[in-house]
Amino acid sequence: MTTQIIDQVRHVCTLGGLQSVLAIDRAIPVLHAGPGCGQKLWGAIGLQNGGQGSGYAGGHTVPCTNATERDVVFGATDKLEEVIENTFKVIDADFFAVLTGCTSDIVGDDVGDVVRQFQKQGKPIVWAETGGFKGSNFIGHELVLDAIFDQYLQPATEATPGLVNIWAVVPYQDPFWTGVYSELAELLRSIGLTPNIIFGPGGGVAALDRVTAAQFNLLISPWVGLKGVQQLEERFGTPFLHYPVLPIGPTETGKFLRTVAEFADLDRNKVEQYITERENHYYHYIERAAEVLLETRFLPRHFTTVTDSTYGLALAKFLVSDLGLIPDRLYVVDGIPDHLQEEVRGYFKDLGEGIGAEVTFTPDGGAVQNELRATKFRSRPLILGSAWERTLAKELNGFLLSVSMPVSDRLVFDRSYVGYTGGLRLVEDIYSAILSDFQ
């Protein structure tokens, strides 16, 4: 068997779930891991990914036992206990999640035993075994959610009508995550629902505490988070709607809104009215930019993606359905678990206009780049990828927009490519990359 090597990392390890904890307002992870794990992980999916820095309590603020030789020989649960105890004293936070790294998981420290003591004292603390050898941070994100759902959430006395939890992209790994969640919330609000957003500004423990009162869970992702919404259904009886495509642009966003409306049994007319309004707004700008979209020099007709599955699918749907481009090599790099691959592959079979695409699943970016080097492109290629593709794009005389981790060449605040506004942002960004390239 050939080894699945990873050349050019495009995701990190399970312990990367620490950033999902930090994405909850005033929540903080406590690491039981090696001294350098944290820094490497937040460096890659944080700082070098849209310029997401330490924020309230990330970066070197994160408590960690910093495993030593003695710890890996004798175990270090006593040290962990001491660090947790002092974390409560030193750090001002509302929620804590103890996450283990490889060292602890191999040595076999009984972390659950330590954390349960604090849980018994009523502390808002959970734990998860996230040793990096378990897989990617997409899995790590799921493990963090699993721990919170399982150890922290309490059943609600009654469901709040119209309240919907939104679960979508993995915070930090997707540099646009804050914008994504707030735009999704805005879309739901506009059709009459009350979104509950856990990640990002304004959520926090209050949002977590509302989770079990939701009327339903809305999962917008090809595969990440599916386990979580199933778990919530089993434990709390909350139904879920799984919508695999992150909606970008009018076609997919319209579909998305209609699907949600139907699931939630909303007033059809109101929804249609909103869709028309937003489509008019969208097409006002597209009409105005038609010259640029059609008459600019070196316009690409095809596009290539090297992204995680969420963006691979979302971008392809938009570019095919709304912009009239043709997919030419789509690579998906998020290491989808084997048993989910067929399902995700299926989503790419229908991108709109009767066009479908074959996708290649591999976490090995170096191999992807070699294939692209050997590809004959008929026009200057348009690559939607990561900062790893900067050198390649130059070599191939192509256009590049970094959208998938690592996005080290952009600073990202609250923008996103979601919805109608997001579609416009994406068109702006792609064509700005083209316009600024050849002048």
Binding site: V12, L31, K40, Y56, H60, P63, V90
Partner: protein
């Protein structure tokens, strides 16, 4: 004094080799006196925050060699630093007009079953695939916590493949759990180079090269210029150097370093093994440091006259502007937070500019370098002002924030990603030194002084940010002594 052994495939960590500590608080006088005498005992902490590990320092050094490739024998997370490494690498290449390519770091991607059954097959296969893909001139295999704990026999795999691939295959042992001093990873990288790449000199006479250990080398042009006056040519190591250049560093006239922490091991090893003298003065930051350093190099090269002429001309040239800067910085206070070599050197530089340094924190402290002496920069600082308050901590942010809250300096001068932001959030001006040549010599001190002035002139961002944000620390903690959670020596 520890003797360097480059025949073994692994170098001892700094705690064992250099008496390095990561927990101390006191004065520079005490630190110096005890380091030169019976030694400082490390102080542990009962609360710790994520620091950094040796593997990061090690593999970024090795991966930055232009035609070498790094294989990280670890789960994918341990290779995450290659993302930032790539940004540095490409910017360094751009700075020097070199080929625009990505850094080559490949993870063996260890998974759960590998931790049970071992993964030497995976390593072997990864090396073959990597070689096939990039045809590098050397491959370094960096160890990790996982490979260390499960006892992977990396060396045997490399021995097996050596003839097949015909390039140097070198292990680098930098398991993060082995040391609290991430700079041990620099030694691991240089050791790998000494053990597996550097060859003994081919000729009796030395070349006209001087090994220059640094990071990105932004002052490259200035250095080439100055060195040409001394009749020598710098070879910048390790970033962007080639395997062939490294192979020959044993033939150089001397070795110098921009950072004592970085250069001690390589410099002293080359001196002990191949008679390439290592310049052991303070580092060339600011005026005194630069002069002592250049004079020492000049003596080694028999170029004293050229050095004196250069110094006299430069000193005269910058005098008026330096006076102006000093006048503007008079009475300002600073706290320093950096690695030990940069920290003690920059404290001196700030004092040269007339800034009062009220505290110098360093991320670790080497009680001696590989030639058996206390770092020269520490010694000189202790001579200049033995009462200077110093502390040592491996990026323990809670201590620094507490300290800054008490000391309220005009500026926090630092060198470590993510450290300056905390001062800014407290309304304190800050400057993080990203370029290792920020205060290099006569030009550097002027630039550095001007940056400090700029930072102090408009503090709007810090002030307004501080008004609006809350620090992640409890009031209880901020009211404690900054080192309340630092245990006594021996506990």
């Amino acid at each position: 004094m520890s003797t360097i052994d480059i025949k073994r495939n692994e170098v001892p960590i700094r705690e064992n080799r250099l008496g390095a500590v990561t927990g101390y608080v006191g004065t520079i006088g005490d630190l110096h006196e005890r380091s030169s005498g019976c030694g400082v005992g490390n102080r542990e902490r009962c609360f710790t925050q994520a620091s950094a590990c040796s593997s990061g320092c090690c593999q970024n050094q090795l991966a930055s060699i232009a035609d070498a490739l790094v294989i990280n024998h670890a789960p994918v997370g341990c290779a995450a630093d290659s993302v930032g490494g790539n940004v540095n690498f490409k910017s360094g290449a751009r700075l020097r007009g070199l080929e625009y390519v990505n850094v080559q770091v490949i993870s063996t991607n260890l998974e759960e079953r590998d931790t049970v059954f071992g993964a030497t097959d995976k390593l072997r296969d990864t090396i073959r695939q990597a070689y096939e893909r990039y045809k590098p001139n050397a491959i370094f295999v960096t160890a990790s916590c996982v490979s260390g704990i499960i006892g992977e026999d990396i060396q045997s795999v490399l021995n097996e493949l050596k003839d097949e691939l015909g390039i140097p295959l070198v292990p680098a042992f930098c398991e993060g759990f082995k040391t609290k001093v991430w700079a041990s990873g620099f030694d691991a990288a240089f050791h790998a180079v000494l053990h597996g790449i550097v060859e003994p000199p081919r000729f009796k006479t030395k070349t006209n090269k001087v090994n220059f250990v640094n990071f990105r080398g932004s002052a490259r042009k200035e250095i080439i210029n100055t060195f040409s006056k001394l009749g020598v040519e710098p070879v910048f190591l390790l970033q962007h150097s080639t395997v062939e250049e490294i192979r020959r560093i044993s033939e150089a006239r001397a070795t110098v370093s921009i950072c004592g922490t970085l250069g001690s091991y390589l410099g002293n090893a080359l001196e002990q093994y191949y008679d390439v003298p290592y310049v052991k003065t303070e580092q060339p930051h600011g005026i005194t440091g630069y002069k002592n350093w250049l004079r020492s190099l000049g003596t080694l090269l028999d170029a004293e006259d050229a050095v004196e002429a250069h110094i006299a001309a430069e000193e005269a040239r910058i005098a008026p502007e330096l006076e102006e800067i000093r006048a503007r910085l008079k009475g300002k206070t600073a706290v320093v937070g950096m690695g030990p070599s940069f920290g003690h050197n920059y404290t001196r530089v700030l004092r040269e500019l007339g800034v009062e340094v009220i505290w110098a924190a360093t991320w670790h402290f080497d009680q001696n370098y590989d030639h058996g002496e206390v770092p020269e920069s520490t010694k000189r600082l202790a001579e200049a002002d033995e009462s200077l308050q110093v502390s040592v901590g491996d990026q323990q942010n809670y201590e620094i924030v507490n300290l800054l809250a008490k000391l309220k300096p005009d500026i926090y001068v630092t060198r470590h990603g993510g450290s300056s932001v905390w001062a800014t959030k407290m309304g304190i001006a800050s400057y993080m030194i990203t370029d290792e040549y920020a205060a290099f010599g006569f030009n550097g001190i002027l630039n550095f002084g001007n940056v400090i002035i700029d930072k102090l002139t408009n503090r709007s961002l810090a002030r307004k940010l501080a008004e609006r944000i809350k620090l992640p620390y409890s009031d209880w903690w901020i009211a404690q002594d900054s080192f309340a959670l630092l245990n006594a020596e021996g506990f």
